[in-house]
Symmetry: C2
Subunit: 271 residues, 2 copies
């Protein structure tokens, strides 16, 4: 497709809008996934659908059968080339108030956007440290839910186009993630990534990489990391489902000129 306008299905039907009483809108009462379409195919599709269903169930939502998402995707197929696909699942419309009605059906959205990303898919990242500290909420930790004001406020801290991402810490000064990515460090031949039991989003790229690196025999651990550990790392990397894995070339004033493990990890992840 040649237009940059996103294409939207709401419950399988073309639509540019959602009801104003949708609980996703009123309360952020829903979950989502953002993933890449490469040559018409959604990347890591089974994991994305599984993670969406798992996140939904954590907040008491029953996700549609995977076949329903596949049918939506079929309706798009003539238009899909390369771009970004977003899946959103909300608790739908119901009576006023926080209490969910057991009877109300969920609402699902599929949004395809062919707009190119920032374009620097192969470029190394320049990263800063955010001032905002993530709050702890174990009931929501790891879930990609629609309550993303912390990410919005953190992303608002910088506008310079040559800074690609910001690292987020929690109020115990543990490094948790990037605003839109997960963090990995390579340190003395170990691959480390922050534990996400109190906050942060456990992305599909992160999950894949943890599994693949472990299968390949790397020493892998989810652990607590402070900023000093990140600065001292031999290599620093960020992952998400849209960009895959990219190495950090510069964090504040610290530089890592050469790749070490990252090119191998990219190969495993994209295989």
């Amino acid at each position: 497709m040649t237009t940059a306008q996103p294409v939207i299905l709401v419950d399988g039907e073309p639509s540019a809008c959602i009801p104003a009483d949708d609980r996703g809108f009123l309360y952020g009462d829903g979950v989502f996934r953002t993933l890449r379409i490469v040559a018409g195919k959604p990347r890591w599709w089974p994991e994305q659908i599984a993670k969406l269903s798992e996140d939904a169930s954590r907040i008491g939502l029953t996700a549609p059968d995977p076949a329903v998402w596949c049918a939506d995707l079929e309706r798009f197929s003539a238009q899909l080339t390369d771009g970004v696909l977003k899946l959103i699942l909300t608790r739908g419309s119901g009576p006023r108030g926080y209490l969910p009605s057991a009877a109300q059906p969920v609402r699902r959205l599929m949004v395809f956007d062919a707009t190119p990303n920032s374009g620097q898919r192969t470029a190394d990242l320049r990263v800063r440290i955010c001032t905002l500290r993530l709050g702890w909420q174990p009931r929501l930790a790891g879930i990609k839910h629609l309550n993303r004001l912390e990410n919005v406020l953190a992303r608002s801290e910088w506008s310079a186009a040559d800074i690609h991402e910001g690292l987020m810490l929690d109020h115990a000064e543990r490094v948790i993630c990037g605003v839109m990515s997960n963090l990995f460090i390579w340190q003395r031949n170990r691959l480390l990534t922050p534990r996400l039991d109190q906050c942060g989003v456990a992305g599909v790229a992160r999950g894949r990489l943890l599994r693949l690196a472990s299968e390949q025999g790397l020493d892998v651990e989810e652990t607590d990391l402070n900023m000093q550990a990140v600065f001292d790392a031999d290599e620093v990397m960020l992952t998400n489902s849209v960009m895959g894995l990219r190495r950090v070339a510069r964090l504040e004033s610290k530089n890592w000129p050469d790749p070490l493990i990252s090119s191998r990890l990219v190969e495993w992840l994209d295989a």
Copy 2:
């Protein structure tokens, strides 16, 4: 009006839906107010508009001039009788991603719902204690923003119709608020309410009551309260803009059979 269907204005025009790329929907990137319409008049209107603007500015949104909200209200006026009015302000539609565009206009909604409330406006409350613990986020504390998943999960903890509200604690076991209300206790001739510097919503009814009680010469304090302090209180009360102030008759298995200060506070608040 006789229908129970809510009446909705989006940016001043009748509409039942919002664009699917609204950042209020995608990220909960917005703020809101819920207030009562009594005999066609919105209660505590200047405070509601002031609080909405203040909350908006806390997340970097510029609220419309109060005259804009008044003009929306005028369009409703023939239909307003008694009911609940909701004002929502979002960061509007913009490019994909968390970074807000400085150029994008905000979006405002006004929703009037004539559906009667649970109906027991004068009844005393039965209250439980929620299991979910509120997370700390000083950057968002006090704001009525659209990230309300904690409230949804807490409200999902009970469905018994004779339990009206649930108390919410933070992870330091401080009592913060009800799921949809603010808490006051009357203890040895002092009126106490939780500090909301880490979490919770600082409601308009709470703000009014703090001011009025202080003007009337009561000893008033925002402080840290644990559950024992609430159980030991001479009287326990909850406030919000829809129900005003109501006393708690029963909290878990503890009863407070008789009103002490609450009837006077209701008079001040509703004057």
